[in-house]
């Protein structure tokens, strides 16, 4: 059952090789240090850090969370202590414990991404890849808005790609129509994979106070509620065969993870589930391995995108 002994569970996304397809989503696992209290998180295929910007960001006005039916609305607004904090406070721990880390980068324009990349270059040997967050619905500048403009996606990706020697992943939003076009641009810019989906724009209102339940008015919806939406987006994008996909959005069980793989995900991202099941990564990995054993699937790669549709 130890995944390290199981080559059939490793996956490749472009030049990115993960020892297993379990990836922790950005913003829901910090850098993995807290969760290491609950299981050895170095067993995970990769941990995507929360999105770090050049300077610290204070994030949005609270309240920042609101539970909806089978969903979670958040408007964190990418509060983070800045890239230097990651480098000096988190990285030593990560190196010692050998976490497989994907660093999520956030910039408000191509210049910030470029400056960030210059800093990251010094530590890139400790990272599997970087992920460019071009899809957060919770901030005004950068993030989402950059991700809407095909040229910007290509431009930002190419800029980061030139500075770094490690693979680049682009995180995409479900709130746009032209996913294939954006993915193609990411590919042209040199990205080796895309992460899909970020949260879906949503809202909730307190009927007693007439105020939005989130300080930022709207927020991003995650959790089981969005799972069918994520699957459809991934299925449709996978058909285009542009780039490998790290699929995410509402995965709560190993069964969900298999659905995402069948729909076309080369790796699966766990987000909100970590809040509910603090050992989700381990449990879902075990579940996938058991499933493969029961179904005589020797290589997880054999079932990526193998949904029988049409």
């Amino acid at each position: 059952m130890n995944s390290n002994d199981n080559p059939g569970i490793s996956v490749k996304l472009g030049s990115i090789r993960l020892k297993n397809p379990i990836v922790m989503c950005s913003g829901t696992f910090s850098s993995g240090i807290e969760y290491n209290n609950f299981y050895d998180v170095s067993m995970l295929g990769a941990i995507t850090t929360k999105s770090f910007s050049l300077k610290p960001r204070e994030g949005n006005k609270p309240p920042r969370l609101c539970e909806t039916s089978a969903g979670l609305l958040n408007s964190i607004g990418l509060q983070n202590e800045g890239i230097d904090f990651f480098i000096y406070e988190h990285l030593p721990f990560i190196k010692r414990e050998r976490f497989n880390t994907i660093l999520s980068m956030l910039g408000s324009d191509v210049n910030e991404f470029s400056d960030l990349a210059v800093k990251v270059r010094n530590i890139e040997e400790n990272l599997i890849a970087v992920e460019l967050n071009l899809s957060c619905p919770n901030i005004e500048k950068g993030g989402m808005s950059l991700g809407l403009i095909p040229e910007e996606v290509e431009n930002v990706t190419a800029t980061v790609r030139k500075i770094l020697n490690i693979p680049v992943i682009v995180k995409l939003s479900p709130n746009i129509e032209n996913l294939p076009e954006i993915t193609l641009r990411a590919k042209n810019g040199g990205a080796e994979a895309v992460s899909l989906i970020n949260t879906v724009v949503g809202m909730a209102i307190d009927i007693n106070t007439f105020k939005p339940k989130l300080g930022n008015v709207t927020g991003g919806l995650s959790g089981p509620a969005i799972k069918p939406i994520a699957l459809a987006k991934i299925f449709n994008l996978h058909k285009e065969k542009i780039l490998p996909i790290i699929g995410m959005g509402g995965i709560f069980s190993w069964e969900d993870a298999i659905e995402f793989i069948l729909a076309g995900s080369s790796a699966v991202g766990l987000g909100t589930v970590n809040f509910v099941d603090l050992q989700a990564g381990k449990k879902i990995l075990d579940g996938i391995i058991d499933f493969m054993n029961n179904k005589n699937i020797l290589n997880i790669g054999d079932i990526i995108g193998k949904v029988k549709a049409g």
């Binding site: 696992f29 807290e34 994030g59 920042r64 969370l65 979670l72 509060q79 909100t272």
Partner: protein, 266 residues
């Protein structure tokens, strides 16, 4: 902090929509300090309603029996689920979480605890631990009505001084506990003060303490997702010398903060 499956020892209804659940857990009884909380999964396996865990303060610890309890009001689906559990059922929780107090660092001898409504739940644990350290504790509690009548007995068993007010006069004296504090504040000037209650109570206390330059600590609540400082979802605004204000996580930096530093909007 640990992920724990704990067996329920008893689940009692102690008032209207008010419950006390006692759970066996050597780990919690050994490690928890007053002010800390646990984060409970409030639905059966494979169901997602409610989706997130629910945080509850540690209300009491019985070291001899290695059990601790939580006291809660039924508000929605999560607390409803808890209220229906029976002895021998097992619940899944994470804890102890948050900062709480560090008993070893406490130097003062006199303590004032101010509780509003269900806010008395964590303060009872404070009282018990402080008494075990031979401190002098005064408990001031305010309620809406008579729903917490059992609380007098609990305090009497601890043999401490207390004062209870209720808005409708059904429990203790009629009136607001904040008015009592205001009137008697000079008696408590040298006390260490801990409060737990609704925001309205905190606003009133901030005014009272500010005028007298008294420092107090308070337990805060925010809706939580991770409960372990990862998601930055549970932040509150606090005064900060550098930037004017700063967002702190209730789950990790708190839930115990300086009351004077909290910024309440509107």
């Amino acid at each position: 902090m640990k992920l724990i499956k704990g067996e329920i020892v008893s689940n009692e209804r102690i008032g209207n929509n008010l419950y006390k659940t006692t759970i066996f857990s050597p780990y919690i009884t050994k490690n928890a300090v007053p002010g800390q909380f646990i984060n409970i999964k409030c639905c059966s396996d494979n169901t997602v309603d409610p989706l997130l865990r629910r945080p509850f303060s540690i209300h009491d610890v019985e070291y001899d029996f290695k059990v601790f309890s939580i006291m809660y009001e039924v508000k929605g689906n999560g607390t409803h689920f808890l209220s229906k559990l029976n002895a021998a059922d097992v619940i899944d929780f994470v804890g102890p979480l948050g900062n709480g107090i560090n008993i070893n660092k406490i130097e003062n001898d006199d303590f004032l605890l101010i509780g509003g409504g269900i806010g008395i739940a964590p303060l009872y644990f404070f009282a018990k631990v402080l008494l075990a350290e031979n401190k002098n504790v005064f408990f001031a509690a305010g309620f809406k009505d008579g729903n917490f009548l059992l609380f007098d007995k609990m305090l009497e068993r601890l043999k401490i001084n207390y004062e209870i007010y209720s808005e409708n006069g059904m429990h203790g004296s009629k009136g607001m506990i904040t008015d009592f504090i205001k009137k008697r504040i000079d008696d408590f000037k040298e006390y260490d003060i801990y409060c737990c209650g609704p925001v309205e109570m905190y606003k009133a206390l901030q005014n009272i303490f500010c005028l007298k330059n008294i420092r107090a600590k308070a337990l805060f609540e925010e809706i939580m997702a991770c409960g372990i400082g990862v998601c930055k979802g549970c932040v509150m605004k606090f005064k900060d010398n550098q930037n004017g204000y700063i967002y702190k996580s209730v789950c990790k930096d708190g839930p115990l903060f300086d009351l004077s530093e909290a910024v309440f909007e509107q």
